[in-house]
Subunit: 353 residues, 2 copies
Amino acid sequence: MSSLTDLCRYPIVQAPMAGGPSSPQLVAAVAEAGGLGFLAAGYKTADAMRHEIEQVRAATGGAFGVNLFMPQPALADPAAVAAYQAYRGSLAAEAATYGTPLGDPGAGGGDDAWDTKVAALLAEPVPVVSFTFGCPTRDTLDAFARAGTYTIVTVTTAEEARDAQWAGADAVCAQGIEAGGHQSTHHDDPRADHTGIGLLSLITQVRETVDIPVVAAGGMMRGAQIAAALTAGADAAQLGTAFLACPESGAHPLHKQALTSPMFVRTALTRAFSGRPARSLVNRFVREHGPDAPAAYPQVHHVTSGLRGAAARAGDAQGMALWAGQGHRMARELPAGELVELLAAELRTAGRG
Amino acid sequence: MSSLTDLCRYPIVQAPMAGGPSSPQLVAAVAEAGGLGFLAAGYKTADAMRHEIEQVRAATGGAFGVNLFMPQPALADPAAVAAYQAYRGSLAAEAATYGTPLGDPGAGGGDDAWDTKVAALLAEPVPVVSFTFGCPTRDTLDAFARAGTYTIVTVTTAEEARDAQWAGADAVCAQGIEAGGHQSTHHDDPRADHTGIGLLSLITQVRETVDIPVVAAGGMMRGAQIAAALTAGADAAQLGTAFLACPESGAHPLHKQALTSPMFVRTALTRAFSGRPARSLVNRFVREHGPDAPAAYPQVHHVTSGLRGAAARAGDAQGMALWAGQGHRMARELPAGELVELLAAELRTAGRG
């Protein structure tokens, strides 16, 4: 990964975590320590994204990235619309409990302001841009290349990696089933639920399918795991949950606390919060609504957004989206820079880097 | 892993695969090449198990192991019984299609002849015994220790590993979600479906929980993956699907062929064939019956046994249990001894062993 590992001292990437955790402070601290930090543009306006980029630039001269959510197809199938409406109806009691209305499913226009964000990033380029929920067109990837931006497409199968290489991505991020938050599956197919691939298996499948660099992601919390990913053929490792507990992370304090709480011993992939499979600690909301939640992203995200906010304000972790990877109980509450240095030291101990 | 790695030249274990694949020929070939082969006593009589042990001993002086299925609790809950009966009813059309009756759910007595097999293995000890679906009592593990047999308990969580160490197991086999065939979850809880842990995450969680050696299992097909598992903290790696395609494997030819067939691109954990979650290639039977299949092991195994046999005789891979790990498309059709040597060479190339 000539270009990407030239950008940072260690093959350690801080994953973009939309919804607050990937604060400019976190990204800057990671960059200063020699890792690659990622802002998460998802759910934000283009202006808010630009403001965060300015904050990072004011804090560090180090390299960083911005992650974009790809626009999703509209809910066209009548059965899917009906399933979405039934799910929305089933949340009425939650709305009453938290004393907040359900959200507008069309908030944000449904495409997460894709065109505006791409235009902004091409006008004022950042070092790295990564993509979630799909692969941009060759034209878009070419435009970023001309702007001098390194592009990474997040993939969950070898086929998605092949598509990304074909479209002209500089690298892929191979996201295993262990990862916290959303799975970046390119086409959300409910019939393929529960067929996601474990990271160690995925790294090899992707490595044997494409020639471009592979960033491994999913559940890693220790330097020895990063070393294992590199041994299997990855060029770098991306960690989210490991950075979630850092003081610089913008995650809600209850979310940080839940990672190592004995109240939460399991994670599951659930559509309950957003309509797309995402890994969360198993709490009341996941148990009660996960089994009924439809494939309807981002509609369900917008509908539950107010509920989640109200639960957080009420101090009720049982109603929040507690995104977490499978290694959550190994989280270490350290300043992000110290965590990067510790991971790098563990990586050396394990014989890599 | 002093004792276990003393038994074989390479830290490479051929997984026990019940139902035919783990033939004495396969086990002997692996042992001769310097790996550790495993017979699978599951679904067999104690006499058949003894006969296979004799065959291995006649073919090699190398070390090998025998895997036992732990007895499972009876179907006591009326709701579980009703779900089982509904599922049995839903298979009537399959029985008609294949022209074979559904099987007797109580075949084999339900405990897989546990007492008889343990007595046989204590009377004529083998080098290694491993356990699936639970952890034996301290008394049983002590008895094997006195007989000079090394014991390995298969686990899917750090808690199960802690229980195994506490009960006196010599080692644990940490089985990731990627593994083909049955997940060795100790207590089958349908509410915990889809919460299984990816191997790279599991190795570290188990390594940080117990002091005894850890054998890693789940989806590995290449020496670089074995090297990665060792780097993460495992002492050896257990591979099943990689050996399934060997000529010595007793797997049905259609099963071997399906591993790399473009007809089968995905695996899923399903209760469709046995009533316990097991990873299989996604075929018609999994698609049609997986969503309805209840937690009822081994009842469902016995009920579908005749169907699967009839499908195999009819040459219909869409009705067979095509157990496979997530790396199935990387299967290499090599004699088992050559495969062990190739994996060991890849392990050296990756800087381990």
